[in-house]
């Protein structure tokens, strides 16, 4: 009997499966983009707008999720569960209510996955995901084509006219615009190289500060450039006894070299510091070696006394998640591009002839990884930079912890944002990047690959919404490109901005000025981190469709921050741009729009983290990684990189009309 009952249950369950509504969405035919033209238009606006803005962090949604209530400048109090002040302000400006329907901890990708299976019906605006998803689902008919609604987006429309490169970047393969991106401060410097100024001066400009040093290092790297009569790395290698270099030998060699090669310098440190710096990667490596060998001297410079067992990391990254920043040094071995845009996943760049390439498999990049492996083995790169089990903030440890009892780790150079990095230590300042050639030119230039770009994140409007809801959403979208909306999103609500006061940036441009309330409250709740305060408490500066303004960042720049900006601006360091005739300097898009067939083809390739890991395994000399740098390329080839490149090449060609 039991057998029969079990059988019946199984049959019932299978029937349930068969009838169980697996097909959770209607056919996409009903959503075809042609329908949009047939919609009866109206100027009516809905009384309530549902926004699903998911960013994987409940602190950064539209809802105020802090345990402490926030008292605003006008005395009103915002409590947990309410809309953040910026969104309450927008609500009152728009004249309709805004409802945050996001699952507060959900990521943008999770949100899109779930919303797509229910036909994007639970909200009018979807935000927080990356543009490729909006393009993918937009082309399937789930998001409205903003390009056809530009009459209702006058400010955004004007913005696109003024910035045609942005219009090109966000246009999907079918010619539609499905989302508005978060646009950073285009053509401004982003992350740059920083170093401890006092260390360079202490080592190179005066013998008085030097302490007795016993360390030695085994030289491996042999130098890259031959632009001067002699190569300083080769000279240091010659000075190494049996391959082991001492501090005295390394320092003497470097100082003699500087004196002979650059006789006109005021001080040896001027080779590295200020806007007149003119060092190349070999000269930087020579300096790193001296630093690695001077733990006693440098720990005394930073703490006032020699720290027993101090460890110097000449180059480090902010944390292991940013391990990619080590690869940026490859730029300086002959100008090989690594990241095509400001995102770690974008490795597409154009060479001097305008050919579309994937940087990680280029011969010069592979050679660069070899050099990095050599620098790592000499101990010039922080030993734990790629250890994902270590979640420490190395920037805090290496720059901001000098005064702590028992502090033994000190770092010299990193690649990071000016305002936040110079804030960590008053001796840290931006340093010009090493000189390198770039593309076909033999001219040695200062080149920094990181720049501010169109970000991949943005927001879009569901086509399932009523025309009134769409109108309300368009109104909000456009508001952020109006003068008032731009201030609200960049600096906070009007009562948070100083009355009749302006801020003049180091670039000479005037910006709205933060009121005292912002600074004081950011100090109280976020240790002075205005950026996080605005995002987590106020609801401004969020990664949704708006143009970010650099004036915000200038205003929380401290210590040597302004001098750092100046170093780069005076030297006019070359950086990639959307608007350049030189292909090798042209930014590639952060978002590519793929057709359904291309997406399916892409799914047959395995290019991903596994292949990227091979690079770091090789650099760190792991026995689990490839034995030679060529092995990195082989791993990508095995994963189908050729197909992968072809797909993106086609997509790029479509986007640029080439």
């Amino acid at each position: 009997m039991l057998k029969k009952i079990s059988f019946l249950l199984l049959v019932a369950a299978l029937l349930l499966v068969g009838c169980g509504g697996l097909d959770t969405s209607e056919s996409d035919e009903s959503n075809s983009s042609d329908d949009e033209d047939q919609v009866e238009t109206t100027d009516e606006v809905a009384s309530n707008l549902k926004i699903n803005y998911a960013i994987g962090n409940n602190q950064r949604t539209l809802t105020y999720n802090q345990s402490n209530p926030l008292e605003l400048p006008d005395g009103t109090v915002v409590s947990s569960g309410e809309l953040k002040p910026t969104w309450q302000h927008i609500q009152s400006e728009m004249g309709f209510s805004i409802e945050d329907v996001a699952v507060q901890d959900q990521t943008g990708e999770e949100m899109m996955e779930i919303a797509s299976s229910t036909g994007f019906e639970d909200a009018t605006i979807y935000g927080g995901a990356k543009g490729d998803l909006y393009n993918e689902f937009g082309s399937k008919g789930y998001f409205i084509d903003l390009g056809k609604r530009l009459d209702k987006l006058p400010n955004f429309s004007k913005y696109l006219e003024e910035n045609p490169s942005i219009a090109d970047s966000i246009t999907a393969f079918d010619g539609s615009i499905y989302y508005i991106p978060y646009v950073a401060e285009i053509d401004n410097y982003a992350r740059v190289l920083h170093g401890r100024e006092d260390w360079v001066v202490a080592l190179l400009d005066s013998a008085d500060t030097l302490e007795q040093e016993d360390a030695s290092l085994d030289v491996v790297y042999e130098g890259y450039w031959d632009r001067n009569d002699e190569n300083v790395v080769a000279l240091q290698n010659e000075a190494a006894s049996g391959g082991a270099l001492t501090q005295q030998a390394a320092l003497d060699t470097l100082l003699n070299y500087i004196e002979e090669t650059y006789p006109d310098l005021d001080t040896p440190s001027s080779l590295y510091l200020g806007s007149e710096a003119q060092y190349d990667i070999d000269e930087l490596v020579a300096l790193w070696r001296v630093m690695k060998l001077s733990p006693n001297t440098l720990s005394k410079v930073s703490t006032g006394e020699v720290v027993d067992g101090a460890i110097i990391s000449p180059y480090f990254v902010r944390n292991s998640k940013n391990r990619w920043d080590i690869l940026r040094m490859v730029n300086y071995f002959g100008g090989q591009r690594i990241f095509g845009s400001d995102t770690q996943t974008n490795r597409y760049y154009l060479d001097a002839d305008g050919n579309f390439n994937y940087s990680f498999i280029e011969d010069q990049a592979i050679e660069g990884f070899d050099y990095l492996n050599q620098l790592y083995s000499e101990g010039l790169v922080h030993s734990e930079f790629a250890d994902l089990n270590n979640t420490d903030n190395f920037r805090t440890t290496f720059y901001a912890s000098d005064e702590y009892e028992g502090q033994k780790q000190f770092g010299f150079m990193t690649y990071d944002w000016i305002a936040s990095t110079t804030a960590t230590n008053e001796d840290v300042i931006a340093m010009l990047p090493p000189l390198t050639t770039l593309g076909d030119s033999d001219e040695m230039i200062h080149f920094i690959e990181n720049t501010r770009t169109i970000k991949p994140e943005g927001w879009a409007i569901s086509k399932q919404s009523s025309e009134e809801e769409i109108n309300a959403a368009l109104q909000v979208f456009d508001f952020f490109f109006s003068e008032e909306g731009n201030v609200v999103q960049n600096y906070g609500t009007p009562d948070m901005v100083a009355d009749e006061e302006i801020f003049t940036g180091p670039d000479g441009v005037v910006y709205p000025k933060f009121g005292d309330w912002i600074i004081e409250t950011a100090n109280e709740f976020k240790d002075g981190d205005v950026s996080s305060f605005l995002r987590d408490f106020v609801g401004s500066q969020m990664a949704l469709g708006y143009q970010k303004e650099i004036g915000f960042e200038y205003q929380y720049t401290v210590n040597q921050g302004f001098e750092s900006w100046s170093v780069y601006q005076v030297a006019d360091v070359t950086q990639p741009s959307y608007n350049t005739d030189n292909p090798i300097l042209r930014l590639t898009p952060t978002v590519f729009s793929l057709t359904e067939q291309e997406q399916a083809q892409l799914d047959t390739t395995a290019v991903g983290e596994n292949e990227d890991d091979q690079i770091f395994l090789y650099i760190t000399g792991s026995e689990n990684g490839p034995e030679t740098a060529e092995g990195i390329k082989e791993a990508y080839m095995e994963a189908g990189i050729d197909t992968y490149i072809d797909i993106y090449k086609k997509a790029y060609g479509r986007m640029t009309g080439e």
């Binding site: 349930l16 799914d603 689990n624």
Partner: protein
């Protein structure tokens, strides 16, 4: 054939009568114990909704899955996902994960399976009740700690970084078992021992409950009889305890074999890194990466379906072997 009269044979009539009789018997049984069946109903529904209904989702293994089109609406691609997985660009990763799943599970059975039994035997021999209860409770506790806490603790204990060295790493260095620069959490050869030992520490106590219960259910008269025959403690274990536990042991081993390809991904994901993928990446972590991180659910589902089929075959096989050699089996 209108003029032909259909005549039922005797056997047909008897079968029909017998069928009617069986159904009637079933109905009477249900009617008689309807309260029990009502109690069973939620469990049946639970299985139907959460174990059988989701099986329909396996279809995506044969589809070019698109969430917006749904499972049925997505394009059918046959075995294409399986081919990509096993012979295409993912082949190396997939077979490495497959191999690791087997090896780690096998290690788990060899080293992890006997420990709870041993623990139960030891506990059952402790005569001081209060002491025994305290010890048992302590041995259960790690089971209730989250994997994040456990792995965080393990990493701290074995980490050997630039300035911080965990207690276990320090001890191993002092004993000369590892070199001063060895960071064992970053070395593939240490991953499996770390994983297995962590698992034993976390689950041995809790898993011993079932064996302890089996031991407790053995009739004391059997022990007394053996004692009267002059049997010692080891003979008690060999001739009374083990035979008494045998059905439980066999069922547990069959269940364990069924899960040989179902290693949970949480602890591995929290412990592994690029350096240890070669010995740590298992099918569940592979599926997690492909299906969730890369968003290729169809490929993830194919890997999982393949996994499930092998696991199913293993359970059937283990059950068959068990039935042949011990007369104890799941069905």
């Amino acid at each position: 054939m209108g003029g032909v009269k259909t005549v039922k044979t005797n056997s047909q009539v008897m079968k029909q009568t017998s069928d009617e009789g069986t159904w009637s018997k079933h109905w009477h049984a249900v009617k008689k114990d309807w309260r029990l069946y009502v109690l069973l109903l939620p469990m049946v529904l639970w299985f139907a909704l959460w174990s059988y209904k989701p099986m329909g989702g396996l279809l995506i293994a044969f589809k070019n899955y698109d969430a917006a089109k749904g499972v049925l609406g997505s394009d059918f691609v046959g075995f294409s996902n399986f081919i990509t997985l096993m012979f295409g660009t993912y082949a190396t990763q997939f077979w490495t994960a497959f191999r690791n799943t087997f090896i780690i599970s096998l290690y788990g059975i060899i080293f992890g399976f006997p420990i709870p039994i041993l623990l139960a035997l030891l506990m059952s021999e402790v005569r001081h009740k209060a002491y025994s209860k305290v010890m048992q409770t302590f041995s259960y506790l790690p089971h209730f700690l989250s994997e994040v806490t456990i792995t965080g603790l393990v990493i701290t204990l074995v980490y050997n970084g630039e300035v911080s060295t965990g207690v276990i790493a320090e001890a191993l260095i002092s004993l000369g078992w590892i070199s001063e620069n060895a960071n064992i959490i970053q070395e593939a050869s240490y991953f499996r021992p770390i994983y297995i030992l962590t698992g034993i520490w976390k689950e041995a106590g809790y898993s011993s409950i079932v064996y302890f219960a089996a031991i407790m259910s053995i009739s004391p008269t059997l022990y007394e009889a053996l004692k009267m025959d002059g049997g010692n403690k080891l003979q008690e274990i060999r001739y009374v305890t083990f035979p008494g536990m045998a059905p439980t042991l066999i069922i547990m081993i069959i269940l364990r074999i069924g899960k040989i390809l179902s290693i949970g991904y949480e602890r591995i994901i929290l412990l592994y890194n690029a350096n240890t993928y070669s010995s740590a990446d298992v099918l569940s972590t592979f599926v997690y990466r492909i299906g969730l991180e890369r968003g290729n659910q169809a490929l993830g589902a194919s890997a999982d379906l393949f996994n499930a089929i092998i696991a199913f075959a293993l359970v059937i096989g283990a059950n068959y072997i068990s039935r042949q050699i011990s007369e104890t089996s799941l069905w």
